[in-house]
Symmetry: C2
Subunit: 351 residues, 2 copies
């Protein structure tokens, strides 16, 4: 029998453990990710199955549809896909609720439409909403989203997010993200996917909270973009001003165009909930190998909202999921996620 | 004295080693990165010292200027900063050498200027270069960089890169990257920095080879961008066409504007070599905490080229490093890298 001194035994055991570590046999993170359900808020069903199968197919070295980790890109629409978009897009609420701030700085605006109309709405005059036209909204967007420095804008949005509350749940908008989608983001990232937001909302607006709320850094937010202008302040310090100039409208055909601009390659997975996401889902699904295109159907009036026109749901003008889109999804192998049937929980706070 | 059975000893040692691992005391990658010189092609001097000091200041947990790893962004100009830009920008060579391909498809162009002028140049008629005007070049760029699908363009560029050779070194352009800058890219990445290219060249052009040549993925290439247009082929398959529409000229003030568009935050380090990089370097240096702005001075006529107008160097119109830029660098604490004095080797092949 070989005799071990405590020193040789230590070295022997150290080597043994090193081999285990370096070989990846001991890895707490991975071990737990594999054993536990990565999508606990999803009910068993076609949607959950499709996601897990897609990840397996694209990440198993032995799979014929294996995708190298550097090419794993997944894009997510935001409004109605990652968080609540009713009764109105969060950024539109920001625009409206920024009007009083604007009027405090320029009191003469208080009696001028559309600013006066917005003040009436905020005082509770619901009928006044009907007075707001699309050009009015564009004017308000220009006044509240441009003309200031990038840093000032970030500060204003942060301030607003900290105090603003959703009218139904009386919670900050940033708590109204869908728990199953948060799990999906994490699951994809744990499997080497780079997750991007591809939103019709303002790129700079979403960037303010994307890292904190979704774990998605600013550089992975693709959105509707306005120009900025480089200049110097009185002290000669350079800064960027947000300009009222539209570079790219990240909706419909603009989504794949913006994805090309910002990412430069085709996603392997894309997630949306309305006709504005159609071209992104088509573009994704048209790539070679395993591609996943999914649509969130808002069919849960009790826990969230029911709308979209497909399957007889009401048309609320925000987040239109038409029957034609539904039919295209079925025909082309996209997966429709039923909030009612596929999601065990909607929000982290409703568990 | 406590008595250890081999089992308790094993557990004890395992725990001990785990603590070492989890605490980061045992980490082969890091240990070797710390002991070896990460910048072996740099001579000892102010430039090398500034880089190492910047990395230490921004990555040591105990440093008052520590930067969280998610915020570590570094941007690099390409032409003249990462690779050779003389006698002419590589992308301009691509445009010129693509004309014969164009003429094969449309033979009627062979006798029409500026296509005929380019054919003369490629046949060796150096005097013909003088005939090319800026509008000519724009016309040629439009004809060779737009009008095809994104996939077709990528295929053409790849084909050209595989066969094209630099007139002086008779090597592929992609071998003419500066070894010290390649080391710098790797060193920054090893320290948690996300490295970006911020080039006046075409974003789509550089994306074709950025991953292979610099280890920088397509989504981290910021460049001059044209629009794309989403559409469907005859079979109904969606694709993107490159449009002759300029979205952003990534030069001068356009550099910080493009960096904001594509990244959404201010870099901690930026590297350039000409007046086109001035605003990017100013914008970077104006941020809070430790910021590194560096300029490559082409003062090595023997091993590469000498040009720029600063310090009495000749003005070659490509890559202008003026005396005013040099003075601003000295005044504002940017670091000038002398290729002659700071770089032990210029290329990987000259070692």
């Amino acid at each position: 029998m070989m005799k071990f001194t405590s020193k040789t035994l230590f070295i022997f055991l150290s080597m043994f453990l090193l081999v285990l570590f370096l070989g990846g046999y001991v890895n707490f993170g991975k071990a737990s990710a594999q054993s536990a359900d990565p999508l606990p808020s999803w009910n068993q069903g076609a949607a959950k199955k499709a996601i897990i199968e897609f990840v397996r197919e694209t990440t198993s070295q032995s799979s014929p549809k294996f995708v190298p980790s550097t090419e794993r890109i997944a894009t997510f629409d935001q409004d109605g896909t990652l968080w609540v978009e009713h009764p109105i897009y969060t950024q539109v609420m920001y625009i409206l609720e920024s009007v009083p701030v604007l009027v405090r700085a320029k009191p003469e605006l208080a009696n001028v439409a559309p600013y006066s109309t917005v003040l009436d709405i905020l005082k509770g005059d619901r009928a006044a909403v009907a007075k707001l036209t699309m050009p009015d909204l564009e004017k308000l967007a220009g006044a509240t989203l441009t003309g200031m420095s990038v840093d000032e804008f970030n500060t204003e949005v942060k301030k607003w997010l900290a105090m603003a509350k959703h009218p139904r749940w009386k919670r900050p908008y940033t708590e109204l993200t869908y728990l199953p989608m948060q799990e999906l983001l994490k699951y994809l990232r744990a499997n080497g996917y780079k997750t991007y937001i591809a939103t019709g909302g303002g790129q700079d607006f979403v960037r303010v909270y994307s890292e904190r709320v979704y774990g998605i850094p600013p550089e992975q937010v693709v959105g509707t973009v306005g120009g900025t202008k480089f200049g110097y302040d009185k002290g000669g310090k350079p800064f960027l001003t947000k300009e009222p100039k539209l570079l790219l409208n990240d909706n419909n055909a603009g989504k794949p165009e913006a994805i090309h601009l910002m990412i430069g390659r085709r996603p392997y997975a894309a997630f949306g909930n309305s006709t504005g996401d159609r071209q992104m889902l088509e573009y994704t699904k048209a790539g070679e190998g395993a591609r996943l295109s999914m649509l969130v159907l808002h069919d849960d009036a009790k826990r969230e909202y029911a709308y979209g026109t497909a399957a007889g749901l009401p048309d609320t003008k925000i987040g239109t999921f038409t029957q034609a889109l539904y039919d295209e999804a079925k025909k082309d192998g996209w997966i429709v996620i039923s909030m009612k049937d596929d999601w065990k929980h909607i929000f982290a706070f409703d568990r």
